[in-house]
Subunit: 122 residues, 2 copies
DNA sequence: TGCTTGACCTGGAGCGGCTCCAGCTTGTTA
DNA sequence: TAACAAGCTGGAGCCGCTCCAGGTCAAGCA
């Protein structure tokens, strides 16, 4: 599977995939004789995973930490799994804060809209 | 009122205020004999306004459009007010989309956390 | 009288997370 | 044999700041 197909299958763009590789969020991507990247099913699954994590707004530094834990740790090792869990929990916490900010923003906007609609003064 | 005081009173940073001026989101800021910016009550109020709009995640281009409408339009003119209202409505729409994304992200994260906690497989 | 301190000024670099582009190689097709 | 497509790399550009270097100016102090 070449990079274009991987992009289509993962929902990332070609540029983003190359950027993720450069940034150390992908395990080493094997190349064919021409120097083209070749993605197998495992690599694709990881790209999808990254896409989903990114969609949650996880910062790159954390995605990188997560990637390293996933790809270098012994699968049977408990600490790595605990570390990954911790990253996810911290991130969910952050999302909760973002939700609170979003709520406040909507409240303010709605108030402001009421003012501009002439339904309220001040 | 100097820039430092304006920063404290508006909740923006000194750098952000200068940046906003450079970016055309402030009406011309008068200077004293030394070339220092002087902020009056009206200018401060506008800084606070910008801070609140920014907190809603409004993009700069739109804040700039808004700023221009606020500071160049005849206060009695209805079209400018309608334009401003339109910007706010469009922005609230965007926030609604963001909320949907946030919901999806939280759902995914919570699922993933369950997996890592061993409460669920796959 | 100079010397330091501190607040301000400007222009420009750096950040995250991409996105796009120029200029190159390599393989296929007409 | 030439054109075209798909990939490659390195580097610039985007937003919304943030930080920094290097400069000016006024006040306070020896």
């Amino acid at each position: 599977m070449n990079i274009q197909e991987a992009a289509e299958a993962s929902g990332l763009t070609v540029d983003t995939i190359r950027y993720y590789e450069k940034s150390g969020m992908l395990p080493p991507v094997p190349r064919d004789g021409r120097g083209w990247r070749r993605f197998d099913a495992g690599a694709l699954e990881w790209l999808r995973n990254l896409g989903r994590l990114r969609a949650t707004g996880m910062p790159m530094a954390e995605m990188r930490r997560f990637a390293v834990l996933v790809h270098t740790a012994d699968p049977a090792e408990a600490t790595a799994a605990a570390d990954r869990l911790e990253i996810l929990l911290a991130h969910r916490q952050r999302l909760a804060c973002r939700r609170a900010e979003l709520d406040a923003a909507e409240t303010y906007l709605t108030h402001k809209i009421a003012v501009y609609s002439g339904k309220e003064t001040s």
